[in-house]
Amino acid sequence: MNTIHYLMDPVQRGLFLPGIVVGLGVAVMCSLLSVLVVLKRLSFIGQGVSHAAFGGVGIAAVLGLAAGGAAYLGVIVLFCLASAWLIAWLSERRGASSDTAIGIVLVTAMSVGAILLHESVGRARSQPGSFVAPPGWESILFGSSIGVTWTDAALAWGVAAGIVAALWVARRPLLFWAYDEASARAFGVPARAMRLMLMVLLTLAIVASMRLAGVVLATALLVLPGATALRLSDRLRMVMILALVIALAGVLGGIVLCFEADWPPGPSIVAVLTALFLLSRSPFPVGRAGA
């Protein structure tokens, strides 16, 4: 029982507890957004934006910014937003399908990230002491719970609180836009602002999830809880609550799996969430009102 051992031992607890707290904050923000992501079919855009974060990490690394710092995260957020804008521009103004636009931006951002990381690794080797070594590839791609600090935890919960507040404040226009985008403007709902807001919230959630879940797996948290919850209920409030519970269960279950099997945290969380998704297709759907 590694989990109990880790949590009972004060030294180990100090190492792992901040990661767990980050994970719970990430579960809160991603679960609520995941319902919108699934309903608006934005999961591939989410993939595009989260992979763009890899490019952002490359830029932050070549600038010599310390991993996890405010400047580092700021650069990644800006790069992700620029990529989201580029996807919209390519598909709206350049006649590319949104699918193609995402495909192009995704691979370009990954390549930019790979080249810049390569460069900064070389520089860190040639100027040891004066240039910060970038984080390892594996932790960027798949996340790591090692070295997560209480500052990271505070940041994650700050972002979670911001996202929950934004969703609550804009809930009525956001719901109209999500349900019937074509008519929203005719009813005075600022459709563009809603889309922009959702893209910004998604970017913040992706960057906040990256540390723990990594670039590749960050979007899993933005898709699986919502996808699972939508199979269990057709009441919006219940779907939101279920998504939250599923995401929390996924993160906690994934962390236990990570401790017990000594797997990296991101893939462990995804394994649990995917298992829950598959289980939700049980022959006895729960809480399906009016079916």
């Binding site: 309903l39 609550w168 404040v169 804009a170 809930r171 009525r172 226009p173 719901l175 109209f176 999500a178 349900y179 019937d180 985008e181 074509a182 008519s183 403007r185 005719a186 009813f187 005075g188 939508l230 209920s233 057709d234 009441r235 919006l236 219940m238 779907v239 009102a289 009016g290």
Partner: protein, 284 residues
């Protein structure tokens, strides 16, 4: 300046020499040209035209979602943009593009129409919630309030869309292809509903459709639109010749069961009339 709340004596909608071409169409042929039309207060006007004839464009101009290159539009005496903000027009979309599995109840859908002017973070005031109830009752959908919206039939959904438009407290109801995807019995019920709404609320109702039956069932006056406005006549004045000109088709083939016989397309006086650029006929 009139507002949606104040009485207003002029035409409900006023089009004056309105022309519009989509950017990128190279100015080759505008989607709409020289549209001049008054929609009188309290009348039921049908705008009949073929797909690609500019109906959707006219709708979007009326809602202030597009701006004409020349000419002017006044909705309740206001620029369309402002009329939209003030909720003068209740818009009923052509077949909902929304996700059918969206987890909302009928009441939640109708309530979406009632939120204009209320700060988004505030709950709907009681007066607005009452408006949602009345709108549901007006379309005979009170018993559907808690029903999941994704499980409605086409006809029920159409009524819910009308209730959503009514919940905005409009002066004008603007309906885009209201009978698409509804069976004949449902279309008849729909025509009855529109008649009742017109009588009870005194709304100005504009119906845009390519379907002669949708127009003939509940309009006092018909305007025929195919890039230009061809005529505006009472439904019984829709002669085969007018229809053939607007649709550029053998009308008998389209409206066979109405026993209308018309000239073939070759008899159309202006060969440029007909299908516009593809995007013009796109979804509303």
């Amino acid at each position: 300046m009139p507002s949606a709340a104040t009485p207003f004596a002029g035409p409900a909608i006023e089009y004056r020499g309105v022309s519009f071409a989509y950017p990128g169409s190279g100015g080759s042929r505008p989607a709409l040209e020289g549209i001049t039309l008054d929609v009188r207060q309290g009348e039921r006007l049908g705008i009949l035209g073929p797909n690609g004839g500019g109906k959707t464009t006219l709708l979007r101009l009326t809602l202030g979602l597009l701006t004409p290159q020349s000419g002017s539009i006044r909705v309740w005496g206001m620029p369309p943009e402002r009329a939209r903000r003030e909720g003068v027009i209740g818009y009923v979309p052509q077949r909902l593009e929304a996700e059918m599995a969206f987890p909302v109840s009928v009441r939640q859908v109708v309530a979406m129409g009632a939120g204009r002017g209320v700060a988004p973070w505030r709950a709907l005031p009681r007066e607005r919630a009452g408006r949602v109830d009345r709108s549901l009752a007006l379309v005979g959908a009170s018993d559907l309030g808690d029903h999941p919206a994704g499980k409605l039939s086409g006809g029920q959904m159409q009524r819910v869309m009308i209730a959503r438009a009514l919940a905005a407290g409009p002066r004008i109801l603007l309906m885009d292809e209201p009978t698409v995807g509804i069976d004949p019995a449902g279309q008849q019920r729909f025509a009855g509903l529109v008649r009742d709404l017109h009588r009870e609320l005194g709304l100005t109702i504009v119906t845009v459709s390519h379907d002669l039956r949708a127009i003939a069932a509940g309009c006092d006056r018909v305007a025929c639109l195919s890039r230009t406005l061809h005529s505006h006549v009472a439904p019984e004045g829709l002669t085969p010749a007018v229809l053939a000109e607007v649709f550029r088709h053998d009308v008998a083939a389209i409206f066979g069961d109405l026993h209308v016989h018309a000239h073939p397309a070759a008899a159309c006086p202006d060969p440029s009339h007909g299908e516009g650029p593809a995007r013009q006929g796109g979804p509303a």
